[in-house]
């Protein structure tokens, strides 16, 4: 039982890393980043490229994706900020196709695997049952990110600006905050977290150009349930979906993937703006 719950937290943690990036990008730019799954996938491929040293791979995944995020914000999101939502959805969808095809061109369609680092390849004895050490590491990573991010948002000046800009970018800009510079940082961070999630997930899943799809769809569900634009909501919803997904897979495998969806529909009926959110 404990093992199952932990497995759920592992998956929930990955979902959180994805969802919080989506929330950050939506908060600053009002853009639903449909290419987020592709960023996750690129992160996993960076880890694969550096699979000689796992740690180097994870760090590079974070840094390279951060750079991609900055480029994305300056080159795509900023010029589109006054456009209709529809346009940004379509453009990010186009970016997803280009990234997936680009990775296919370089690495091919074959499934790759990334070994877990030697240091964490063993198992840990938790009250009589064995649990892979690497999975505990995944939990640790996602929780550290969650804690670090909330501390940053709550106690630093930049964090204050980010929270303000998420509520109302225009007023925040009027108060003298350079929201464009802020958004470079925030979109970079969101993309970097997607890359980190990809690198961290790489030893657990099959690495392939289309690997982003499964996680991005559940991340969207997390974001909708948590309330688009809510950081705390994203964490709670990610943990919830992680558990539901995991128990579903064990007990009712054929319907497992529809449970998060049903929960989402339920939440939409009950509270159309999500758990925590004012706006969706």
């Amino acid at each position: 039982m404990l093992i199952q719950v932990l497995n759920g937290i592992v998956y929930g943690g990955l979902l959180y890393l994805m969802a919080v990036g989506l929330v950050l990008i939506f908060g600053l730019r009002e853009i639903g980043n449909f290419a987020h799954g592709a960023l996750f996938m690129v992160g996993a491929y960076v880890a694969y490229t550096f699979s000689g040293s796992y740690w180097l791979g994870a760090i590079f995944a974070f840094l390279i994706l951060a750079a991609m995020g900055v480029v994305l914000d300056a080159g795509v999101f900023r010029p589109l900020r006054r456009q209709d939502h529809m346009i940004t959805i379509l453009v990010t969808f186009g970016i997803l196709l280009v990234l997936e095809a680009g990775v296919t061109l370089v690495f091919g369609k074959d499934i790759r695997s990334v070994p877990a680092p030697a240091l964490l390849s063993g198992t840990v004895n938790l009250g009589g049952s064995l649990f892979p050490a690497y999975r505990l590491f995944v939990i640790a990573v996602s929780f550290s990110v969650a804690i670090g991010l909330s501390l940053w948002l709550r106690y630093t000046r930049t964090g204050l600006y980010v929270r303000a800009a998420c509520v109302d970018p225009t007023t925040t800009a009027v108060q003298g905050v350079d929201t464009d510079r802020l958004s470079l940082l925030v979109v970079g961070l969101g993309a970097a977290l997607a890359g980190l999630a990809g690198a961290v997930a790489a030893p657990l899943v099959a690495v392939s150009p289309s690997m982003g799809a499964f996680i991005v769809i559940e991340s969207f569900i997390v974001v909708v349930i948590g309330g688009l634009g809510s950081f705390g909501g994203a964490f709670v919803a990610a943990m919830l979906i992680g558990q539901i997904h995991n128990f579903g897979v064990i007990y009712i495998p054929w319907a497992a993937t529809t449970f998060p969806f049903l929960l989402m529909m339920g939440v939409l009926i009950w509270r159309p703006t999500g758990f925590a959110g004012r706006r969706i």
């Binding site: 959805i89 186009g94 769809i217 969207f220 909708v224 159309p272």
Partner: protein, 333 residues
């Protein structure tokens, strides 16, 4: 897209098409389709053409949501796949007559979409796209994972009985006759859609699309009309799904996958979703790109993605809109 006039026909001189003219056009369109198999002998070519028509119907379904509701859906393949599977399952298990199977395959996805629509049409743009993606994928997962019923990844093959709707069932299998069937369905859907779009109901949904608050303030329900449009779009997708199922006699989960929804969306966008026939044009362009670019490289989706981005940013009215404005320019001379 927001800078564009919402209804391109409003800015041009409106051609009022009276009912008799419309019926004449309809008859001409149907007849011209019947003539095609007489001119093209190659059944391979006809088979490709009829698949393109099925995809054109599917793209139209995505276009309906964009034009009437101003919403992007990433989940239409779910309804397409559901219809294809229902037809296949009912026929294969002999749960009912094939005629009833076809009716059920059209009615169930439409009803499902209507109920879901009542819940989700109020959700604004980005979240709506996410939610439809989740709906489509949930339907895909049912097809993929519910092995005892759907046969999972292996797919489901079935064969039609000798007669369907008093017709020899070979009609649905031979490319020449199936082309005519698909063409007729396609033409009827386009005419029905054009009529719906022009009707007071169609105008109402466009008013809600442009300004829901004001439409509500005037006293209209803003949920029901949009849910009906969502259901109509699902019905059109279901028509395409049934045609696919009948022609192939085989269904597999990939037809419900979100990448097919995405393909339908790309077709609608590059063709011009504000035009009735835009998505269908886009389907033909897409089909052609896939055939040509697919020969050169596995990376053809990158090419499609680049075209999608370029069309979205540079010609928001799509290739169809481009054609219309060229035509207008020529006419004004």
């Amino acid at each position: 897209m927001s800078a564009e006039p919402m209804n391109p026909s409003a800015t041009r001189r409106d051609w009022t098409i009276t009912m008799p003219v419309a019926l004449l056009l309809l008859a001409a369109a149907l007849a011209s389709g019947m003539a095609v198999p007489m001119m093209i002998a190659s059944s391979l070519l006809l088979s490709l053409a009829l698949q393109a028509i099925i995809e054109a119907i599917f793209a139209t379904s995505v276009g309906i949501l964009i034009k009437q509701n101003g919403r992007i859906s990433f989940g239409q393949a779910g309804f397409y796949g559901a219809a294809a599977y229902i037809a296949a399952l009912v026929v294969e298990r002999e749960l009912a007559s094939p005629e009833l199977a076809i009716v059920l395959a059209l009615v169930i996805p439409t009803a499902l979409a209507f109920v879901l629509g009542l819940l989700i049409v109020k959700i604004p743009g980005i979240a709506f796209a996410m939610v439809t993606l989740a709906i489509g994928q949930a339907l895909y997962e049912v097809a993929y994972k519910w092995r005892p019923v759907t046969n999972g990844d292996d797919g489901l093959a079935f064969s039609l009985p000798d007669t369907v709707f008093f017709l020899d069932s070979d009609i649905f299998l031979s490319p020449a006759s199936m082309f005519i069937v698909c063409w007729c369905v396609f033409v009827l859907i386009l005419f029905g859609y054009a009529w719906l779009s022009k009707s007071p109901f169609g105008q109402l949904t466009e008013a809600i699309r442009d300004n829901p608050e004001r439409a509500q303030f005037i006293g209209y329900s803003i949920t029901l009309p949009r849910a009906l449009i969502y259901a109509f779009a699902a019905f059109v997708a279901a028509c395409a799904g049934v045609l696919f199922s009948l022609y192939n006699g085989f269904v597999s989960p990939s037809i419900a996958h979100w990448s097919f929804s995405g393909a339908g969306l790309i077709m609608a966008i590059i063709g011009g979703p504000r035009l009735i026939w835009g998505p269908a044009l886009g389907a033909i362009v897409y089909f052609w790109i896939k055939e040509v670019a697919g020969d050169y490289s596995d990376a053809w989706p990158a090419f499609v993605g680049a075209i999608l981005i370029a069309v979205t940013l540079l010609i928001p009215s799509g290739f169809g809109g481009l054609l219309v404005s060229l035509f207008d320019r020529v006419r004004r001379r």
